[in-house]
Amino acid sequence: MKDKLVDAEKAVELINDGDSITFSGVSMVRAPMGFIKEIIKAGKKDLYIIDREPGMDFDILIAAKAVRKVRFAMLGFELFGLAPNFRKAAESKEIEWIEDTCGAITNAFRAGASGIPFVVVKGILGTDLVKIHEREGTWKVIKDPFNGEEILAVKAVNTDVAVIHVQKADRYGNASIEGSRFEDVYKAKGAKKLIITAEEIVDTEYFKKFPERNTIPYFYTTAVVHMPKGAYPTACPNYYPPDYDEIRRYLSMCREGKVDEYIKEWIERR
């Protein structure tokens, strides 16, 4: 196994302007916020960010002008309201966006992990999302070759980069997601480059002792970054809950037009 432990500044070089990227987590849980900060610091541009149900990770990248295009099934702050910077950018057409649905985007990630070019999914037919995606070239209504019925084909998603925050990893890239995995394992296995950020760097013996906890084996991983509190202010299960106050502070500042100030202060904070 190769040693893949690098610092964040080094790992962020794996991302090119214009890349498609997906991130771990859902809403206020296990988003790789620490690495999002590095992407902003590095001044990455024109990213195409793709996820099932993102939140602050997407919104702040949009606010930082790092994003060209967004794909998601839901993007907001749950009970705290809409995503202010996404909404503004979408309504003013500063960014492109395509709405997905959980069952399609998660299947697209799973198909990407499986190495197949597309997957058929049930449901969805009859909704207005179909024409949006047929125009985009991401979905197509086809006939089941066995019974002739209409069914939706969804193109696999294999992003250029996946950034996955985990609880434990070793320096070779074996990584353990504890608790809810969401689609993160599929995102990781389907991506062309995989950056793991981890709360803790553990000895490889940990995985030999608990091989079933090795949710992403080393051969998928391009780089490992040790990043304690790397999901903050979103949660990292078994480590810390979401910091709702901090997330609300972000939203308040955004609504007051002070998002640049928030980002500046956030970047300076260690």
Binding site: R52, L79, T106, G123, T127, L129
Partner: protein, 255 residues
């Protein structure tokens, strides 16, 4: 119905939770997604009362979280909701259950709802040039054609929500001839969706049929007996308060 005398001080949130719980039977598998405090509490309530064997799956990927250690948080995906779970069940696996035709029920919201219980969660105005870009439908488009029970909810029973023609069809409501029951639960009333449209089933205590009808852009079906929506019993209220001591369930009503 409006001749209220001694209706207890009960919040619409709690009435809605009870109404939601009543849609759940012992043989169901129920799922809730993000931004779903009322469904989360309804599922716990059902499981602790009339539907103990109901399968409880949620957006934290946790199966049957322990109600005795549960404390409702602002994010429905908060890992603290996964307390004492029996298994990690990826959301995708729940979608697979829906595809396999298992008895899955789902709670979903709707920014706009029409008389067939079709929903819009995508945009106000056109998709290409939205006046308001909403957060998006999440699982709506995928699940609404697949579930056996679709329970829509809104805390904002109004003409803005109940519209003639949604700006976008994110979710499919009533589908004739399909094994799929569609219920709409609002802060005023409970409907079932049918061939004829949204059929008013009950109004909440203190609410009149006129209150219900006058706050919709289309006419619901009002026929036969319109019941009063049952309110939680004292025991049920205790369970709700124990699960949500911080009153997160009221957040949806403040906006």
């Amino acid at each position: 119905m409006a001749e209220n005398v001694d209706i207890p001080e009960i919040h619409p949130a709690d009435i809605m939770i009870k109404a939601m719980a009543m849609e759940i039977t012992n043989d169901d598998i129920f799922l809730h997604g993000l931004a779903s405090p009322l469904p989360a509490l309804a599922m716990h309530l059902a499981k602790q009362t009339h539907a103990p064997e109901m399968v409880y799956i949620n957006v934290t990927d946790a199966l049957d979280p322990d109600p005795n250690k549960y404390r409702l948080c602002f994010s429905s995906a908060d890992p603290r909701h996964a307390v004492n779970t029996l298994a990690i069940v990826e959301l995708l696996e729940t979608f697979d259950l829906a595809s396999k035709g298992k008895p899955l029920g789902m709670f979903l919201g709707g920014a706009q709802i029409d008389s067939r219980a079709n929903t819009n969660l995508t945009c106000i105005g056109s998709y290409e040039s939205p006046k308001v870009k909403l957060p998006g439908g999440a699982a709506t488009a995928y699940l609404t054609p697949l579930v056996k029970k679709l329970v829509l909810w809104t805390t904002n029973h109004s003409k803005r929500v109940f519209v003639e023609k949604p700006d976008f069809i994110t979710g499919i409501g009533y589908e004739e001839g399909k094994d799929k029951e569609v219920t709409v639960i609002t802060n005023l009333a409970v409907f079932k969706a049918g061939k004829e449209g949204l059929i008013l089933k009950s109004v909440h205590p203190g609410v009149s049929v006129d209150d219900v009808v006058n706050n919709m852009s289309f006419a619901p079906v009002v026929k036969g007996e319109i019941k009063t929506t049952p309110t939680p019993t004292e025991n049920e209220m205790e369970l709700i308060k124990k699960l949500d001591p911080d009153g997160v369930r009221f957040s949806e009503f403040k906006r």
